[in-house]
């Protein structure tokens, strides 16, 4: 929807534009892509965008998982959702790009009460491109989101875009470290020992095989954090058992310890604790 709003805004600003989603697995947290193409002439290409001028990254942890900047043109630009400054980002060896960053998650939580950052990121995008002005983007957002979700949501989304535009930091981001991609490694069937589908191994610094998902730090998804009040805990083990992400360690004495590298903040543990020994606190914390 944000890509469509951007295309709407481009049309309002007198350009030709198209927007379309990428069809992949529909799972919250699963990487998804959407594309927009803007030109001063009528657009006849119908393909996905392979060599973008601009890349908007809604989740900075993707730099570790996906070749986010692949195909980015020479002189291409980035907009990234992160509390970091552009200079502090690691975007993959050999790339350098003028980049705008903002903590869009915090902004979305403040303006929309949900961590949906797409419209805030349109604001950040406006800091590194001059085809479509922020005012036009806000109009388009208000209209498109308003139509779908109601006028209040339309205005809230437009204000989310503005706040992010206002608060974004522009600088140059670069990549120093080679980010090896797990997907590049494909052993032949005869390289696998009988009885296992894939052995545990580390290839190019990437862990693969059984249990290797551990390297995905899903704690990055969190927007709400459980707070454990140990003195209230009756060690019933319910939270430990019910966490979908195995983010609660059951210690030797049956008290709990949270593993914030993985906790996605779903709130199940707090919901089922029989003595309210867990509170969900807004925001990303570690304690």
């Amino acid at each position: 929807m944000a890509a469509q709003a951007l295309a709407d805004a481009a049309v309002r600003a007198g350009h030709h534009a198209q927007a379309f989603p990428y069809f992949g697995a529909e799972r919250r947290g699963a990487p998804v892509q959407a594309f927009a193409r803007i030109d001063s002439r009528k657009i006849r290409v119908k393909s996905q965008v392979y060599e973008p001028d601009l890349v908007v990254v809604l989740d900075a942890s993707l730099f570790e998982l996906e070749p986010v900047t692949e195909g980015l043109k020479e002189g291409g630009r980035l907009a990234v959702n992160t509390p970091l400054r552009p200079e502090e980002l690691e975007i993959g060896e050999g790339t350098e790009a003028v980049t705008a960053t903002a903590d869009a998650t915090a902004i979305a939580l403040q303006t929309l009460k949900v961590p949906i950052v797409n419209t805030a990121m349109l604001g950040v995008l406006c800091r590194v491109q001059d085809l479509v002005p922020i005012e036009t983007v806000m109009e388009a957002v208000q209209e498109r989101f308003g139509e779908k979700l109601g006028a209040i949501a339309g205005r809230a989304n437009a204000s989310s875009a503005w706040k992010a535009y206002d608060g974004a930091v522009v600088g140059v981001a670069s990549g120093k470290r080679r980010i090896a991609r797990a997907k590049e490694w494909r052993p032949a069937w005869h390289e696998m020992p009988a009885g296992t589908s894939l052995p545990s191994a580390t290839i190019d610094g990437v862990e693969v095989g059984p249990g290797s998902a551990r390297t995905n730090l899903t704690g990055e998804w969190r927007w709400s954090t459980p707070f454990y009040k140990k003195d209230r805990c009756i060690r019933c083990l319910r939270c430990w058992w019910s966490c979908p992400d195995a983010a609660i360690d059951r210690l030797d004495d049956d008290y709990m310890r949270w593993n914030f590298d993985y906790c996605k903040g779903c709130g199940i543990c707090a919901d089922i604790c029989p003595v309210s020994a867990i509170d969900m606190i807004k925001g990303v914390h570690r304690w």
Binding site: E26, G29, K148, I152, R214, C236, G267
Partner: protein, 325 residues
């Protein structure tokens, strides 16, 4: 409800070791993930798992990464029953003792996989078949299956002007499998901890065909708050939308019985997929449930009074995380 202050007895002796580890990509609060993780935990390291096309494959094992510490296999959507049959044969031939377990979705079990499931059950293969039932085809974007309950919204049973949501009642798969006269059939809920552990342990200790049917809440598919999955499963049992029982060598036994039937609206009200439901459909569903209740618990039950509560919609995201994208 369970007594509040006591530690859950059944969980004491459960291992701290996970076979399905963190770092997987399920939605926050995913009921599939809780269930698969805990079944694998109880079955332990001497286990091999097969998963057909479903959310579980995509979030737990995208080659060459895997969240499983045990061997994992994936092939096509429809053949869980056949693949685990072959796996067990191969292990037997090699002299390896292992729990061979297939974990398939409702689409993969109720619909497209029913033939292979029935075949494996009828041959009494020495395997554990787990049906992770989230009541629709979630991985491909929430299409109705024959496990979808009456009245539920899915993308293929939309809430329109003429017809609102699914028109058919949920198929009783566990009963169908039990009719194959297999050694063990049981139904599980993520909210009934001790019951869950006992049933998985029992399945593990037996041989022959064992079938575990689990109700696994789905956050975007049921349009629920990520924190409520476990509570919703509890309400499913209290309202009769789900029943907990086992059939051991042909002998059925209810393993948990609610003290009184709660009105179905208590269950429906927490889920966006029932947001549109009409009073007439609630009545239809409630009387169907009362019939089921009698068949299951062997006693007449009086229809509890249903009240449709409408939640206010806030910013209009209605709990659907995909809505804003």
């Amino acid at each position: 409800m369970t007594s509040v202050r006591s530690p859950v007895a059944g969980l004491r002796n459960v291992s701290r070791e996970d076979m399905l580890v963190h770092g997987h990509g399920a939605c926050p609060g995913c009921g599939y993930a809780v269930t698969a993780r805990n079944i694998a935990k109880v079955l332990g390291p001497q286990t091999v798992v097969y998963v057909p096309a479903s959310c579980l494959t995509v979030f737990s094992a995208t080659y060459p990464k895997s969240a499983w510490r045990i061997p994992f296999l994936y092939t096509a959507f429809e053949n869980t029953g056949a693949i685990i049959t072959g796996l067990k044969a191969a292990y037997r031939r090699r002299g390896i003792e292992a729990n061979v377990v297939g974990m398939a979705g409702d689409g993969g079990s109720f619909d497209i996989g029913l033939q292979a499931l029935s075949g494996a059950a009828e041959r009494n293969e020495d395997v554990i078949y787990v049906c992770l039932d989230n009541e629709a085809y979630m991985n491909t974007g929430i299409q109705r299956s024959s496990a979808t309950p009456f009245g539920a919204w899915t993308t293929t049973t939309p809430a329109g002007l003429e017809i609102q949501g699914n028109r058919r009642f949920k198929k009783d798969l566990a009963a169908i499998v039990a009719q194959h006269d297999v050694p063990y059939v049981a139904t599980l809920s993520v909210a009934h901890f001790t019951d869950f552990v006992k049933k998985v342990e029992k399945a593990k200790s037996m041989s022959g065909f064992r079938f575990l049917h689990c109700l696994t809440p789905c956050i975007p598919g049921w349009r629920i708050e990520p924190s409520r999955g476990v509570s919703i499963d509890r309400l499913a049992v209290e309202t009769g939308m789900w029943t907990l029982y086992e059939v051991e060598h042909g002998v059925p036994r209810v393993t948990y019985r609610p003290r009184k039937m709660l009105p179905v609206t208590e269950y429906l009200g927490l889920q966006g997929r029932f947001k549109h439901i009409s009073e007439e459909d609630v009545r239809t569903l409630q009387s169907w449930l009362c019939r089921k209740w009698k068949a299951h618990y062997g006693e007449e039950v009086e229809e509890p009074p249903c009240v449709i509560a409408r939640k206010d919609e806030g910013l209009g995201h209605d709990g659907d995380p995909l809505h804003g994208l």
